[in-house]
Amino acid sequence: MLANNLDIEGLSISFSNEGEELMALRQVSLSVPRHSIVGIVGESGCGKSTLISSIFRLPMENAIIKCGRIHVNGTDVLTLDEEEMNRLRGKEIAMIFQDPFTALNPVLTIGSQLIDIQYRQAISRKEKKQNVIAALQQVGIDRASDRFNQYPHQFSGGMLQRICIAMALLVKPTLLVADEPTTALDATTELQILALIREFHRSTGASVLLVSHHLSVIAELCDRVVVMYAGEIVEEGLSQDVFGAPLHPYTNLLMQCDPARIKEKARHLPSIPGTVSRVVKTSTECIFVHRCPQAVSRCSELVPETYSVEGRTVKCHLISNE
């Protein structure tokens, strides 16, 4: 039995953009242990989506995988041919998307889509339909057999996301990747969907890789958390450690900006000054130096190493001082 459902080692991905090379991911390594929920947080544009689309080997057209390895349940994804890859997708790995309104085919009824997705199983259509209705009931859709024949536009966003989770239930993956599954939903629905994902994790034993902007969501749901900044992992560890006592200044700032954690009344919501830098050449300084309030002279002279501290990793010079 393998220890991890997902192992990414030293993954670097670049985008070629009008002759310019944009280094979207640099030397990213992370693991999703079996039966665990791992969260990825970070600002928009820090490479979260690039990372998860590379797990499915469905990156943008102009993306180039420079180096690194991606192992899903021990299989090196990047060396598979297209057919072997297709066998892996939807069997070992499945994905839930950010916007449930666009994640289902608008001209087919949800029933036919959910039946269609079981094409790998050699069972009769009737059994497939029973599976679908069971899955729909499991994700909390009332009158599932009536709603079976409805089209996606006849459902609300929360319902559609439930249907997407039902889809994941039907393919029974060992690793579920959820790309900001609650961003398009309101707060109450968000809680229900997160509870469903947790229930999915519990009942099937599948691992979940959850991407979110919401720190509280990650803190609530995840065993481990990965903090990304501008295409690099800056901090990684157990979520109670990382959120309890952040070591990297960026994690610290992110938590200060989380509206859920602000105690005092303020006129303006806090934010981190500046924007995520676009990295086009190999840098000789820390990527966060221009926005870091704790920067020292060494930060602009040397790229920090990744230090291991009590079961977590931090990429910051300040740690080495201690």
């Binding site: 666009t102 608008p106 001209v107 087919l108």
Partner: protein
Amino acid sequence: MPHWIHASGTNCKLVKPLIAHQINARHRQRARLADPVVWLSIFLLGVLALCALIALLGLVPHDPYELNVSNRFQPPSWEHWLGTDNLGRDTFSRIVYGSRVALYISLVGVGSAMCLGLLIGTIAGYGPRWLDNAILFVLDSARTFPTILLAMIIVTISGPSINTIVAIVIVSTLSGYVRLVRTQTLSLKNRVFIQAERSLGAGPIRIVSQHVIPNILSPLLIIACMDIPTVITLEAGLSFLGLGIRPPTASWGTTLQDGYAFIRNTPWLLVAASLPLISATLGFTFLGEALRDWLDPNLVNK
């Protein structure tokens, strides 16, 4: 307070819950039948189909090929409902026979162009870039020829016949279908639900057949329906120019040609041949519009 109002104020007893499929069925039916345009199109196309059936069974009042020179240029009468032409043939019978030609050409021609367009268009849209460029290059080259010129080339090669017209129809409408299908495929290709299918391991053939084609079918059917009138007039035009159906075979185009030649003596010939042309055109156009409303799942609920 009346007894059927509950304490909560909601009237529970009178509200019978509507089950989803009942709602669906009801709205679909309404979308299909409420519009008078739909009825008109059903009526016009029904008459056309009836004509073709009558012609198939030979139930016309006169033999459309029987010459009766002493009886030529008869005005409409009980004996000859739409008069007779320059050779004394019964115009009504010839028009009824002509509907067979019109339907055959429009359905077979447009149908095969649509299927070919679906095949080539999805290959161009979903396949590799170089194949897309090659397909577009060939189709664009074919499109630079004016239809009539193209028709003359094809007729010169294979001789005038009903199947030549079908070939002309396919060649002249194909690039439109391919372009429509290709653009739709390209835009669908990057939609999230296609990405979702790919992330679940669906291969290209599965994605195209299960997800791309159902999304393209409704605009394609609508365009095809609106193309059928053009095709019927194309047949009439080609026959009128002597490039299509050869006399004595009855077609609306040949009847138009005769009518045009003798317009001063016998205006009814021209009217008789253009009436079915107009009604078929209207019938298919209305059908296209009705299809557009009916096939759009977003209109089901409105």
